[in-house]
Point group: C2
Chain length 336, copies 2
Amino acid sequence: MRIALDAMGGDFAPGPIIAGALQAVQSDTELSVVLVGDKDQIDHHIQGQPHSDRIKVFHCTQAIGMEESPVDGLRKKPDNSISRCWQLLCQKEVDGIVSAGNTGAMVAGGMFTRRFLKNVKRPGIAAVMPTKKGFCVLIDVGANTQPKAEHLYQYGVMGSLFARRILGHENPKIGLMNVGSEEAKGNSLAKETLALFNSSPSKSSFIGNIEGRDIHQGVAEVVVCDGFVGNVVLKVCEGLYQYLMEVTTQEILGCLNQEKDLAKNALKQLASKYDYSEFGGAPLLGIDGVCIICHGSSKDRAIKNALLLAAKYARLKLNDLIVSELELAPSLAVNL
Amino acid sequence: MRIALDAMGGDFAPGPIIAGALQAVQSDTELSVVLVGDKDQIDHHIQGQPHSDRIKVFHCTQAIGMEESPVDGLRKKPDNSISRCWQLLCQKEVDGIVSAGNTGAMVAGGMFTRRFLKNVKRPGIAAVMPTKKGFCVLIDVGANTQPKAEHLYQYGVMGSLFARRILGHENPKIGLMNVGSEEAKGNSLAKETLALFNSSPSKSSFIGNIEGRDIHQGVAEVVVCDGFVGNVVLKVCEGLYQYLMEVTTQEILGCLNQEKDLAKNALKQLASKYDYSEFGGAPLLGIDGVCIICHGSSKDRAIKNALLLAAKYARLKLNDLIVSELELAPSLAVNL
């Protein structure tokens, strides 16, 4: 299994990114990683490290900044590390790609290649979120901010396979993000999408509309929403989580005396349960190949996990399952 | 100041709702409350209570259930408490109305009356949310799930006056909820709305696009978004808050011994800081009159605060300020 890793992408690149690659090849003996980036900056991080024989470098001279306009970056920097990752994937030099760099550029890079799986209209980003009942998939979280109902339907199918094969949910329930549970609720996109699911082969696993507060209750293992809503939801959760942990830490530690250290440990435990780096990244589902998009603030642990996730995804041949499942809906596929 | 209160609305109606009214008239000596609902169920709660001379009952025989279809409820139950509240407002019998009942029916009731302030195209619900830097207003959270850019612009103007006069922010900054900060980000609604703000008299207080994680950082005092997104965000925050508080309480209390009670108190303190009942309800801005929509699970404290908020809103003549401010944008007003 060969995965290309954007060594220049992320707030802390390249040091912790490369460290994550070294940890991943150590943990998965069948994995080799192609570090894509500036050879000079990369080489000294890997020289003499254990298992570095399964690390290769693909040199490129440019990198797109985290805040740079994705389209500008891709156009004006032809030798950037994200485009080179996509190039390696398209040429089948690697099975998958991983980047903690500019998310917009990663998605736009994928859109430019147009290497979508058969019948897939638009890829979507699947974020894994913790709930009371384990992990759920929120799809799409920003690849497609103006989707059609058919796109959301496909996100449900793809997200469901991801939830089953990767997260281990035997019969994942699909919920449609809406403003209420009644059938007549929501905007026209939500109403059309509801009708589409109800007349599809996925009807039996579709539980209809769900509300914002249902996500963390674990009501559905797959939450389908348009990329605008999903992106806002994901970032609101990040922000609220951070805010609440800060005030909680302050209030709790401020009131304790002897048992302050016990509470500190409990809070650390808590953070590790909610930590996005457990999953290490969000797959862009619908691409012919594996593409994992990591948080900009990813460090070694997140990158390691993202690489292992990419390898698992490729080994399970999840994309073949997606293609088969979408073919089960021939009437829909024709209409899309 | 006379405020009508839907005595039949909410998960705990009518007992705690009426208790909230009694507390409110005790706290505000200029306030009188009209309890709208079944006289038989109401009377024994108020008999002999202090200040009940400033509590009147407006009898009606029906109530719309919390889960009932709003449109069906309003049509099939002509003598329901929500419609009666709106009727009292339209006939200028009261200065404002408050309900913890079926939110959809409250909003639909307002839409049916068409009593909007001059130049207002669509009313929007403004939810007050805690942030690192005090409270902010999120508008709209569900009155208008398929808005136009002009509606969002008006939400910014109305939300800004609310933030200034009610929340006490001297120069509230307005942010547009989007998937990234760059100008080119988002769906067509977000792009149009950005352009509208940038060419409006509100330009100086408009800080452009903000992201989900900015809300709780307190980046803006007014966060403008479409009602679909706002509703999902508000409910996601409620759900995540509840989830995190549950797991935090479990983890922290599970690890402590002697100082368990200290931690319990700190967690209670925390809950009261984040508690929506501090604000007691979300105003439906843009209505000719005052309309406060409370959470279905509101108890006495939330209802009391909502009544006091309604009275404050009416006294400050916030609606006159909204009308003046919208008239300052004549070119926009004509185009709307």
